[in-house]
């Protein structure tokens, strides 16, 4: 039996069915090239009044506001808010550390599943989905488009990609921020195992570019709790360094340090109005996506 490819490799039919009812909304104004459900910075044809502008040649006379003409004896046309589609860029970390999994699922696999789920939700809403894959550099880029074929191709590319090398998250994120010109929804799926201050700077870069940013901090539960039962020699998956340690003795101090590490991201994301979420690989993906999108929808109203 041939190996499944594309979206069917990540999501089952019943999962797709359930995900189809969900929406991923941007909390900010976004710039798209198609009419859609999201607010656009451009004036358009929605029923939402924006402002008045002096009539110019070529304007459709039906847009003249006759009440204003009656008061001012000048021609003004009414302008309405434009509604556009959403561009969503999935930025996925493909560094070696992302390929760690204490159970059967690695963080990268989880990230791919998450990307598939979000991509499906986005495309279902007729929004565009794009992809950046990075490790120490941008390894792959897929421009945003809003078809299921595009999504399928994007996921096939993700599926076929080999693990990268070391992580240079901050550098890569800066590069990505520069390359995404229009306002978009940026979903960063990474373990963020780099210098938090630099990563936070990169995140602020996205915000400066008026992007709505979601950080899915993907972590394995073992990385958080260090609940190994026996002592062993740990080998760094990126650098190859080793250290012999008794996890039971170290666990308390380890957790304290790790909590500080998480807190740095959590506090700076709050300050930058970035949606910061911890995606644990032992959490059922469908539950995570459903809970998160429902919560986001409530907050967007």
């Amino acid at each position: 039996m041939p190996e499944k490819q594309g979206i069917s490799a990540f999501l089952k039919a019943e999962e797709l069915h359930k995900l189809g009812r969900l929406v991923l909304l941007s909390r900010y104004v976004v710039e798209g090239n198609l009419a859609g459900a999201h607010r656009s910075p451009n004036k358009g044809a929605s029923s939402e009044f924006a402002d008045h502008r002096a009539y110019m040649e070529g304007d459709d006379p039906k847009h003249i506001d006759w009440k204003v003409f009656g008061r001012t004896d000048r021609y003004y046309v009414k302008r309405f808010e434009d509604e556009t589609n959403l561009r969503v860029y999935l930025i996925i970390d493909n560094s070696n550390s992302m390929h760690y999994g204490s159970d059967t699922t690695t963080k990268f696999q989880y990230a791919c599943h998450l990307a598939a789920a979000l991509g499906y939700v986005v495309v279902k809403m007729r929004d565009s989905i794009g992809l950046y894959l990075f490790s120490d550099k941008i390894e792959a880029k897929v421009n945003a488009a809003n078809s299921f074929n595009h999504l399928n191709n994007l996921l096939i590319q993700l599926q076929e990609h080999k693990p990268g090398k070391e992580t240079k998250i901050a550098e890569s994120l800066h590069m990505i921020a520069e390359s995404v010109r229009k306002r978009a929804l940026i979903v960063i799926i990474s373990d963020l195992f780099d210098e938090p201050s630099e990563i936070n700077l990169a995140l602020s870069h996205f915000r400066k570019m008026h992007h709505d940013v979601i950080v899915c901090h993907t972590l394995d539960p073992m990385e958080m709790d260090l609940s190994f039962r026996r002592g062993c020699e740990f080998m760094d998956m990126e650098t190859g360094e080793t250290i012999s340690a008794d996890p039971r003795s170290l666990a308390r101090d380890y957790q304290k340090i790790f909590q500080e590490f998480l807190e740095k991201y959590r506090s700076s994301c709050r300050a930058m109005n970035i949606d910061y979420r911890i995606a644990r690989t032992d959490t059922h993906l469908e539950d995570f996506v459903r809970a998160y999108l429902e919560e986001r929808r409530r907050l967007s109203k």
Binding site: S97, M98, Y100, K107, D191, F193, C216, H217, D220, P221, E223, M224, D225, L226, S227, F228, G231, C232, E233, F234, M235, D236, M237, E238, E241, T242, I243, S244, A245, D246, R248, S249, L250, A251, R252, D253, Y254, Q255, K256, I257, F258, Q259, E260, F261, L262, E263, R266, S267, Y276, R277, I278, A279, R280, T283, D287, F288, A291, Y292, E294, E295
Partner: protein, 724 residues
């Protein structure tokens, strides 16, 4: 000081390297574990490496210690005081042996007496001594008896002395003997180990002397003080008697009447003491080795009971009698000896002129019964010096004063040894003639002439239950009234004086004073009709007869005595002073020693320590019973001591208590050779293992998960507390 019984087990101490080896094996077998990043591990290790090292070190130390101690416990380490003594270059040990020789040591358990066990135990202690060790030997009975007071290295003579010893018939106290033994040990000034071995039975009685006297009074400060023993002296108590002894013994005999005449039946009341459960026994009364009464009795548990026996009238003389019980485990105290003195005549002496003694002689010459009578003899005052007063049970002095000094002293000695002296005043004696006397109830101050009008006086019995007056019962309104013309005026009454009869309301008529073992009666009127009409009174005859009987019944006869080291013969056997041929029950002559006391020669019979009938030669050169000697019945109370109370009673810190020879030898070995520390080590191992268990458990306890602490929602939102 320190040695090992099973040093081979020390090899097991090599197991102490097991924790290290395990640690090394474990570190070799470390699995390589790929991990996303070790940057946090590095930081954590940097922070907690010192703590982890300390925790690991403590665990290693505990485990190694446990293994070492287990090996050590199997090797059975011992502290040996002998080696310690040698190490300090000191000499060896001084041992004092104190043996209880009270007669309770004769108690038979199985087929052997406690004494045989005690002697065997003492010999075993001696045999366990090393060359150079010194020993002294004491026995405790009623006093401490140093058999070998000075410490000696020669063991054989001590063994010989122990084998020659026999239990006495006395009770004992351990405290003075232990103190004496401690004093002997202190004579040795060199630093040596000291031991006191006290060998006794289980009786409580010898322990009653262990009462610390707090008084500062030097007279009583000789009481028990555990400090005298010293901290360095170890006391071994060997209790070799029965733990639940049973014993029945006669503890007292009462003979009624006091004056036994030939025609008088005798009532003998025996008091029995019993310890242990109720049992059947039989009591027999023997007189002159003939069984005269017998009965079976049931004696109750730990109680005293009385049983009365009737003995038919006996011929005159002194009869040896005894109470005998069925043999029990302590047979010696089952026999109680006593004497029955039966009289046919009451020898009475009347001293005075014929006129003075006329009525008295007439009254006393009348027979008392068909078989007995008063044997009255009259002498004048001049013939007094040739008389032996001890031949008489009663002496009447009828206006016979003054006496010569020697006569007066002899007369007082007679009273002191149990005689009855009756003094009738008269016109011949002046007030000054009474003054040299020391035995009078009161000193006369003069003569009182009674006026014509008051001469009729009623005699009042002030002590109607007195032996003299008891039988002189008066009918109602029948009080004797006599005419008194002259009375002896008396000064202040002496101590121990009683007024038996008064003339009228308050005039003393008959006074009695106890003097020594005897009595002195002083009448207020003369014996003839010169001063009163008493001789004509119907009470005169019975009164004089009762006085003669009373004189025979007091003082001069002691039915039994207790075993003693020294008996003053003048008090108990005055007739034996001249005849020194007293023999003990075994036929050996009793030693009689003389001593000068208060300007007079006093004779003492020595060492009346064997119970039984002691005999002496009478005037007819026939051997007659003289004394009945019994062992003290205090010792018959075999109430056992509670072993757990011994330390509390004695106040001694380091004591060993054994109940058999084998146990004693084991304790001696434990003390001298040391005790294995196996038990203490096992306790220590248990404590350390418990500590290790809890400590290791605490270290391996899982740290609470950070995920739970942060409170991560399904949506990935962190809801938990922010880290400061």
């Amino acid at each position: 000081m320190f040695s090992l019984l099973n040093p081979i087990f020390l090899w097991a101490a090599a197991a102490a390297i097991i924790p290290v080896v395990l640690h090394m094996i474990q570190s070799r077998r470390t699995v390589k574990m790929p991990f996303s990043t070790i940057r946090f591990l590095k930081l954590a290790e940097k922070q907690s490496s010192r703590r982890i090292k300390m925790e690991h070190f403590l665990l290693w130390l505990l485990r190694t210690l446990i293994l070492l101690l287990i090996a050590l416990a199997f090797a059975m380490p011992m502290f040996r005081t002998q080696s310690f003594g040698n190490f300090l270059k000191g000499a060896q040990r001084d041992v004092a042996i104190v043996i209880d020789t009270s007669y309770s040591m004769r108690y038979v358990t199985g087929k052997r007496t406690a004494w045989e066990r005690a002697a065997e135990c003492a010999v075993a202690v001696l045999e366990g001594l090393n060359p150079g060790d010194q020993v002294c030997l004491f026995t405790c009975e009623e006093d401490v008896k140093p058999i070998i007071k000075m410490l000696t290295e020669e063991k054989e003579p001590v063994v010989a002395r122990i084998k020659a010893l026999r239990p006495t018939f006395f009770s004992s106290q351990l405290a003075p003997a232990i103190m004496a033994a401690a004093d002997s040990l202190k004579e040795e000034t060199h630093r040596r180990e000291r031991e006191i071995h006290v060998i006794t039975d289980n009786q409580l009685l010898p322990w009653t002397g262990f009462r610390k006297i707090e008084s500062s009074d030097s007279a009583v400060a000789a009481g028990w003080d555990p400090k005298v023993i010293g901290d360095k002296t170890v006391v071994f108590f060997s209790l070799l008697g029965a733990t639940s002894p049973e014993n029945t013994s006669p503890i007292d005999v009462t003979i009624e009447p006091e004056l036994i005449m030939v025609d008088t039946p005798i009532k003998i009341t025996v008091k029995l003491a019993h310890s242990g459960p109720p049992k059947n026994t039989s009591v027999s009364v023997y007189v002159d080795d003939q069984e005269t009464a017998h009965r079976s009795v049931i004696v109750g548990g730990d109680a005293q009971s009385e049983y009365a026996f009737s003995v038919p009238p006996l011929p005159p003389g002194t009869h040896a009698a005894r109470i005998e019980l069925l043999d029990d485990n302590l047979p010696d105290d089952g026999v109680f000896h006593f004497l029955l003195k039966v009289r046919d005549k009451l020898p009475t002496l009347c001293v005075g002129n014929k006129d003075d003694v006329l009525f008295l002689m007439k009254a006393l010459s009348i027979s008392l019964s068909k078989t007995s009578s008063i044997d009255v003899k009259h002498i004048s005052q001049d013939e007094l010096s040739s008389e032996n007063f001890t031949d008489y049970s009663c002496i009447f002095l009828c206006d016979a004063l003054p006496l010569s000094g020697q006569e007066m002293l002899d007369m007082e000695r007679y009273v002191r040894s149990g005689g009855l002296l009756v003094i009738f005043p008269g016109d011949n004696a002046s007030v000054t003639d009474y003054k040299p006397w020391t035995c009078l109830p009161a000193l006369p101050t003069g003569l009182k002439d009674v006026s014509e009008r008051n001469r009729k006086m009623m005699l009042r019995w002030r002590k109607p239950q007195h032996a003299i007056l008891r039988k002189l019962s008066m009918e109602t309104g029948g009080a004797p009234v006599i005419t008194i013309r002259r009375l002896l005026a008396l000064g202040e009454l002496e101590a121990d004086t009683e007024t038996l009869v008064t003339a009228g309301a308050e005039e003393p008529f008959i006074l009695e004073r106890q003097f020594g073992k005897g009595r002195v009666l002083l009448f207020g009127v003369s014996a003839n009709r010169a001063w009163s009409s008493l001789p004509l009174s119907p009470y005169y005859l019975p009164l004089t007869h009762e006085i003669a009987k009373y004189g025979a019944g007091i003082g001069d006869h002691v039915p039994y005595i207790w075993t003693t080291r020294s008996l003053p013969l003048s008090d108990y056997l005055p007739e034996a002073v001249r005849d020194s041929s007293i023999q003990d029950p075994d036929g050996n002559n009793v030693s009689i020693q003389s001593a000068i006391m208060d300007n007079r020669t006093v004779f003492h019979a020595e060492n009346l320590t064997t119970p039984g009938i002691y005999s002496m030669m009478d005037s007819k050169q026939q051997r007659v019973p003289a004394l009945a000697v019994n062992m003290s019945r205090i010792e018959s109370d075999l109430t056992p001591i509670n072993v757990s109370d011994i330390e509390k009673i004695t106040g001694l810190r380091e004591t060993y208590i054994a109940t058999s020879k084998d146990e004693l030898l084991k304790q001696i070995e434990d003390h001298r050779m040391g005790k294995t520390m196996g038990e203490q080590l096992l306790w220590l191992i248990l404590i350390l293992a418990t500590v290790e268990f809890f400590y290791a458990n605490m270290l391996s306890r899982e740290t609470p998960k950070l995920t739970d602490e942060l409170g991560i929602a399904v949506s990935g939102k962190v809801e938990g507390p922010q880290n400061s």
